[in-house]
């Protein structure tokens, strides 16, 4: 018998790895100094932060002074978008963004619009890939920034960032990528990707919550959004979160060290799961790319005739933790903006469930989950007025 609960929500967050936890622990009670203090306590803290910064900089192939620690992915996203748009407003007030970005980007873009900036949205195809030809038609001389995530959090699409960055640079625009889901999973070499800014987060890669980073290429003008003390070379105020930074760097080091091994292993879990669900559950659609250019952790399905939140809780009752793109699970009345941008009919978007796997999951768990999904879907369909009426309703 498989041990429950089973955690299939690694795109939401991951458990802290032991190595990071151990490395962090002395920084709470013993080495507690403020990294801004000049005495020995402060110097010890600074030393730890410097080492962490060097380690992450090496992994993403940037200079240590191009890496800024933030409170997480959301702050890094906010800073990149708002900070670049504002600092470069004298050159232009036009920004291009993908429609499947995280809310940290989309909501910030809406706020910029109110401040007089113009936002244009890229087009994505039904698997979530950015339409490069369309991008070439909407980029303008006054476009200061192009933003596209490296990998999508809901449907796992890995975007052609190199190509997008080339289009941005050919036009004289800056390129930002949100690598929150990708860092530690894919190779995130900023030179190879050709990006000017890149956001990352600790807790998606078995690091602590409440810590992230923004890479800002030297020479890129960015306005600060957290104004305050002298931290982060005067660019980001706020007392340095030393234990979290230490844990983030250690988790990133482990993730990078085991990257290829984990990639292959998690892909094998995902592929087994996708293959079995598609073969054994009728009326189901895989959202996002088939297997190529899909995040190893991600399997996102729409189950026709039933609603996502009720699937989520049915799985929850059977000891499996997943998330849903349905309106009911988000607390809003709109289903996932990502699935809508991919062109899914609303009914199918409401019936979506995201499974995201991790390095601790097993093939036994995958097999158990498929059986539970089959049973839950069957039970909910028996309750659904749409299932019987399927002949009368048109589905894509």
């Amino acid at each position: 018998m498989v041990k429950t609960p089973i955690y299939f929500d690694h795109a939401a967050t991951t458990p802290l790895c032991k190595e990071a936890f151990d490395k962090m622990s002395p920084y709470f009670t013993q080495i507690f100094g403020n990294a801004n203090s000049q005495h020995m306590f402060g110097r010890e803290a600074v030393k730890a932060v410097d080492e962490a910064r060097d380690s992450i900089a090496k992994i993403i192939n940037c200079k240590p002074n191009e890496l800024y620690f933030t409170s997480g992915g959301t702050e890094a996203d906010n800073w990149a978008l708002r900070g670049v748009a504002r600092a470069n407003a004298n050159k232009g007030k036009h920004v291009i963004i993908s429609p499947i970005e995280h809310a940290a980007m989309l909501v910030t873009a809406k706020a910029l619009e109110k401040d007089g900036f113009e936002i244009s949205y890229m087009k994505v195809d039904e698997e979530g890939f950015v339409d490069l030809e369309h991008l070439k038609t909407i980029i303008r001389p006054d476009t200061t920034l192009v933003c596209c995530m490296l990998a999508n959090n809901e449907v796992g699409t890995i975007e052609p960032i190199k190509e997008i960055a080339k289009i941005a640079h050919d036009n004289g625009s800056l390129m930002f990528t949100d690598a929150v889901q990708a860092a530690g999973v894919l190779k995130t070499d900023v030179k190879e990707l050709g990006v000017d800014l890149m956001s990352m987060s600790g807790h998606k890669i078995y690091g602590p919550k409440g810590i992230g980073a923004l890479y800002i290429r030297n020479g890129v003008k960015v306005e600060s959004i957290l104004t305050g003390g002298h931290q982060e070379r005067m660019k980001r105020g706020g007392t340095t979160n030393v234990p979290a930074i230490v844990g983030f760097a250690e988790a990133f080091r482990i993730a990078d060290r085991d990257r290829e091994k984990n990639f292959e292993y998690v892909c094998s879990l995902r592929d087994k799961f996708i293959d079995r669900i598609l073969a054994e559950v009728p009326f189901v659609k895989l959202n996002g790319p088939r297997k190529e250019n899909r995040l190893p952790a991600n399997a996102d399905f729409s189950f026709r005739f039933i609603e996502g939140e009720s699937i989520l809780f049915s799985l929850d009752l059977a000891g499996i933790a997943v998330s849903s793109g349905s309106a009911c699970s988000s607390g809003s009345l709109e289903p996932s903006h990502v699935l809508m941008a991919l062109g899914l009919p609303e009914g199918l978007a409401h019936g979506s469930i995201r499974f995201s796997f991790g390095k601790h999951n097993t093939l036994e768990e995958i097999d158990y989950a498929v059986d539970v999904v089959k049973e839950a879907v069957e039970k909910l369909r028996a309750m659904s007025p749409l299932f019987k009426a399927q002949g009368d309703i048109k589905y894509v």
Binding site: I306, G331, L333, E346, G347, S384, P385, L386
Partner: protein, 123 residues
């Protein structure tokens, strides 16, 4: 989030299914909103003797469907018309604020099923 009562009802909902030759059927909501509720009533001498439902929707929609159908069984048509969503929610020990519209659907579906019964009776 949901309380234990709601989760219990969601786990083991009562009155799932259809009633053949129902005296009144009410269908409300639509797929685009993510909630469809269909309620079937068996009515004898203006008393609801059986109620069943089919629901496409979240856990709250399923739980309110189950509870509302349980509540109207044994009621006169007149009493059932007075059933409010508030009473269904109370019976479930409360729902999260953003889920209250699901209980409104249950109230509407029952009203619609009774209207269907009444219009059939007049015909």
């Amino acid at each position: 989030m949901y309380n234990e009562k709601v989760m219990d009802v969601f786990k083991n909902p009562k009155n799932v299914g259809e009633i053949e030759n129902a005296d009144g059927v009410g269908l409300v909501g639509n797929e685009n909103c993510g909630d469809i509720m269909q309620i079937f009533l068996k009515i004898e001498n203006d008393i609801i003797v059986d109620a069943k439902f089919k629901t496409f929707g979240c856990a709250a929609a399923i739980a309110t469907s189950s509870t509302a159908t349980e509540m109207v069984k044994g009621m006169t048509v007149e009493e059932a018309l007075k059933l409010t969503n508030r009473r269904v929610v109370e019976c479930l020990g409360g729902l999260p604020a953003q889920k209250l519209h699901c209980s409104v659907l249950a109230e509407e579906a029952i009203k619609k099923a009774i209207e269907d019964y009444q219009s059939k009776k007049q015909a």
